[in-house]
Symmetry: C2
Subunit: 276 residues, 2 copies
């Protein structure tokens, strides 16, 4: 992997790396914040999954997370949201194809060749990070919107892999909302049984590990009632006896101003689990 | 003025307004962060002047300043960097014309009609803010690069107008560096005596008010030796007996990662002066 950005930030370094992903079959970029403590010892890692249309830059430029990562001694890794490059399939619209990988392994054409974001996020990227950076094997995961869906589903699908999980404004039931229905039909085909494996509300029904979920949701979010529907997560968690802290934040919308306002709470939450 | 953005942020509101500027003769946008305390009382205002190529968005999306403004109860106002619109003169290159107003009143054609950023920042915008928002008349000023130049020169030229001033990576001696020479020749003409009225190093020689200057400068800044030259400010302040705290920050560059890392110190500095 090659470092393509390297900028001092809160006593540490905000870097961006480029590498050839064998899982995705393309060149990918990911961002890493190394807090000052990384000079002296290995640190745990919080993986951040961004939402539709984003790449590895949005979180590192807009969330203001580095301050809290420096306080707590946690590495932040922010990958891109889909495979990239001229030979990667794409579609019209912002909610399918590039920038809209939905953190799953596609089974349908023309997507299956490159759209394997689940394997990338869960396996290839952590292996790369832990082999090349001052990272321990302790991992946490969070994200926003489509990335909140990714964080919840990947944690629920991989018991023991993450010490903690949280989400901002997640798509909690993609099988039941337009964003998810469009993407899952394209990537996974018509069989809704396959969709359930990538749907947090469905996964909660059978989750063996009861990893507590921390979710922040703005009540002025423009996608609240059409795409996000946190009440479905609340009901599913209640039915399954799965611990959930769902915080409805009055007045907040879907933007990075919302994430910036509460990312400090999330990083403190993850740091506590990662350092326990 | 018309509010065109309104987003909850750190318990307050990150807003953007659009208005017709009579000074500039065009429609302008400016950003306002209203901290939560603004619900109950009027608050002092920190004006932030951005650098070349920026508009009213850069600071509010990338600096992470709202957290500190909410802590200290300070309103942040971030204007655009030049007049805008189809009938405003422009030039090729990022360092002259739109996005490069240099916070002065142009005297030369084709600039003089609209490029009156000094009057806009010092008079028209504060009058608008104080008439329409929960703002007291207590003002502070800061900025980055071209905006650091703006903050220093506007404070030095207007004794008593600002309670405090600071800058990140400022152009301290525009008369002596390529960015300033190009802009001043175009906006002010060939007479260098006129340039001295917009050059912090020159203004320090005759400044009546000894308002302390706080300046942060990264020592890995790519423009340090060609455009910024903080050693000239240090020498001028020393010669004039003008109080200056110049902090050379090891490893930091010219980016918003640098600003984000130290904006908390600056807002604390301004809050102390504004609330004294």
């Amino acid at each position: 992997m090659e470092r393509i950005e390297h900028r001092a930030c809160f006593g540490g370094w905000q870097d961006v790396y480029r590498h050839e992903s064998s899982v995705l079959g393309c060149t990918m970029a990911f961002a890493v914040y190394l807090p000052p403590q990384a000079d002296k010892r290995k640190l745990p890692v919080l993986y951040w999954l961004s939402g539709l249309t984003c790449n590895e830059q949005n979180f590192i430029t807009k969330a203001g997370a580095q301050r809290y990562a420096a306080e707590h001694g946690v590495i932040l890794v922010a990958p891109d949201t889909s495979p990239r490059g001229d030979d990667v399939a794409d579609a019209d619209g912002y909610d399918l194809g590039k920038g809209a990988g939905f953190y799953l392994n596609a089974t349908q054409q023309p997507w299956a060749a490159h759209y394997r974001m689940q394997d990338y996020i869960v396996d290839e990227l952590p292996a790369l990070v832990e082999a090349n950076l001052a990272a321990t094997g302790a991992r946490a995961i969070s994200g926003h919107s489509m990335g909140g869906h990714g964080a919840l589903t990947l944690a629920l699908k991989h018991p023991g892999r993450y010490r903690s999980v949280s989400a901002f404004s997640p798509i909690v039931a993609p099988s039941q909302v337009p964003w998810g229905e469009k993407a899952f039909a394209a990537y996974l085909g018509a069989d809704r049984a396959a969709w359930a494996q990538h749907d947090a509300v469905e996964l909660l029904k059978t989750a063996g590990e009861k990893l507590p979920l921390l979710v922040d949701q703005g009540d002025a979010d423009e996608f609240l009632h059409s795409q996000l529907k946190p009440e479905l997560l609340k009901a599913a968690a209640h039915a399954a006896g799965h611990p959930l802290v769902l915080r409805m934040q009055p007045g907040y919308d879907h933007s990075y101003y919302f994430i910036a306002s509460f990312i400090g709470d999330h990083i403190a939450h993850h740091a506590k689990a990662l350092q326990a």
